[in-house]
């Protein structure tokens, strides 16, 4: 896993206390949301496990002996969800972080389809995510829900049609020009 360079605000002690004044808190929220998103991107984390993240350096900076409280972690993650960059698992123990938007992933997948002449073919979601043909592409091993969202985004603009399968992973997709 690649190293992550924490931004400067992560080294300022008050960053780890939820600010009482709304305007300051808005700025703080923006900083935390960007940090969580960037951290997940660099570490290629799709599902952020809250209890695991709590023990990681993401929410605690041992160098200055500060950490976010459980409530504040929940708060900033909820703000990330509110701005559309993440989605809660129903039990709120995990958070699916969209460090790349569905349409962005969709565009990548579509480029691969065009480049390799797979237009008009019926592919399964599993083939796209796990198939040997996509090894080396950034969307290889993409998280399942994110993949489906990305394909749905492509379907909306008429670039593919989804075909029901026996499971989510078995979902079929037919790309069109």
């Amino acid at each position: 896993m690649s190293d992550f360079d924490f931004p400067p605000f992560y080294s300022f002690p008050p960053s780890f206390t939820r600010q009482p004044i709304e305007a300051t808190r808005a700025k703080q929220t923006e900083l935390w949301c960007n940090l969580i998103r960037d951290y997940c991107r660099v570490k290629r984390i799709f599902w952020l496990d809250v209890s695991k993240a709590k023990e990681s350096n993401l929410f605690a900076n041992p160098a200055i002996d500060r950490r976010l409280s459980d409530e504040d972690i929940q708060y900033f993650l909820s703000q990330l969800v509110a701005r559309g960059d993440a989605q809660w698992d129903p039990d709120r123990k995990r958070c699916l972080v969209f460090w790349r938007g569905p349409s962005e992933w969709g565009e990548m997948i579509y480029q691969w389809v065009e480049k390799t002449g797979r237009n008009g073919q019926l592919l399964t979601v599993h083939e796209i995510r796990k198939g040997s043909a996509t090894i080396g592409y950034e969307f290889h091993d993409l998280e399942l829900d994110t993949t489906i969202k990305s394909l749905q985004a492509l379907a909306v603009i008429g670039k593919c049609a989804l075909v029901k399968g026996d499971s989510d992973d078995g979902l079929g997709v037919k790309f069109v020009n």
Binding site: P7, P8, F12, P13, F16, T17, Q19, T24, Q28, D65
Partner: protein, 247 residues
């Protein structure tokens, strides 16, 4: 004039004539002097112009050189910044330089305002400008920033440079800071933060005065609160180095 004798008409006439003569001569001399000085000044001005042309690049590039050039201009009463249309700014682009710099300063102040409430140390402002690495800010000095800020003063409710403790601080919001506020801010100089106990010990304030001041700094977004210490601390981000990179 001897007593008992009134001056004759002739002597009065003579007196007037002499006075007129003297005035005429005096005028001639001062006209000559003025003419001479004007010529000198013109020569000097031409030389200064030539100097400016010869050293244009250095003036633009080197802050120390620029500062010296400015003090030289100031000593003969030439202000190369006063007019954008003036020949000096045409010649050097110095007017443009400070206008452009002023624009960058505004950008930094606006961008960092959510973090520091519009209070930023001159030092941090300069380093934020340098980080941007644009033509106008790469080699900027605090002297340049102050000059550009002086230009910004034509804007109403504009930018203020003040001393807080031993530091020059730029304020870009029209909030009136009281002596209590600036005294409290000065306490953060060494550690970056203020606490109630520090204000009590160093300024001998009563509880209410302390709380009013701390509350003000929080509410005006100048201070950030840290509750993970034995007593709450109030961090003045704009006066800490590195805080301008939060954006």
């Amino acid at each position: 004039m001897p007593p008992g004798r009134r001056p004759g008409r002739a002597s009065i006439r003579e007196d007037v004539r002499r006075r007129e003569e003297m005035a005429k001569r005096g005028a001639m001399i001062s006209a000559e002097t003025a003419q001479h000085m004007k010529m000198q000044l013109r020569t000097f001005s031409t030389k200064l112009e030539q100097f400016a042309i010869d050293h244009k690049d250095e003036i633009q590039r080197d802050p120390a050189f620029r500062a010296k050039f400015h003090s030289m201009c100031a000593s003969i009463g030439v202000d190369p910044l006063t007019s954008r249309k003036g020949k000096w700014s045409d010649l050097l682009g110095v007017g443009d330089y400070y206008y452009e710099l002023a624009v960058r300063i505004i950008e930094v102040c606006v961008a960092t305002r959510p973090t520091n409430g519009g209070i930023i140390s001159l030092r941090e402002l300069v380093s934020a400008l340098r980080i941007r690495r644009t033509t106008y800010t790469e080699n900027v000095s605090s002297d340049d920033v102050e000059r550009a800020l002086a230009k910004l003063n034509v804007l109403e409710g504009g930018f203020k440079v003040m001393m807080i403790g031993h530091r020059k601080v730029v304020q870009s919001v029209p909030v009136e800071l009281s002596v209590d506020h600036t005294n409290a801010l000065a306490i953060s100089e060494e550690t970056g933060y203020i606490s109630a106990s520090a204000l009590r010990e160093k300024l001998k304030w009563e509880k209410e005065r302390i709380m009013t001041t701390l509350r003000f700094l929080l509410e005006h977004e100048i201070a950030w609160l840290d509750l993970q210490t034995s007593e709450p601390t109030y961090w003045i981000l704009g006066l800490m180095s590195g805080s301008s990179t939060f954006t």
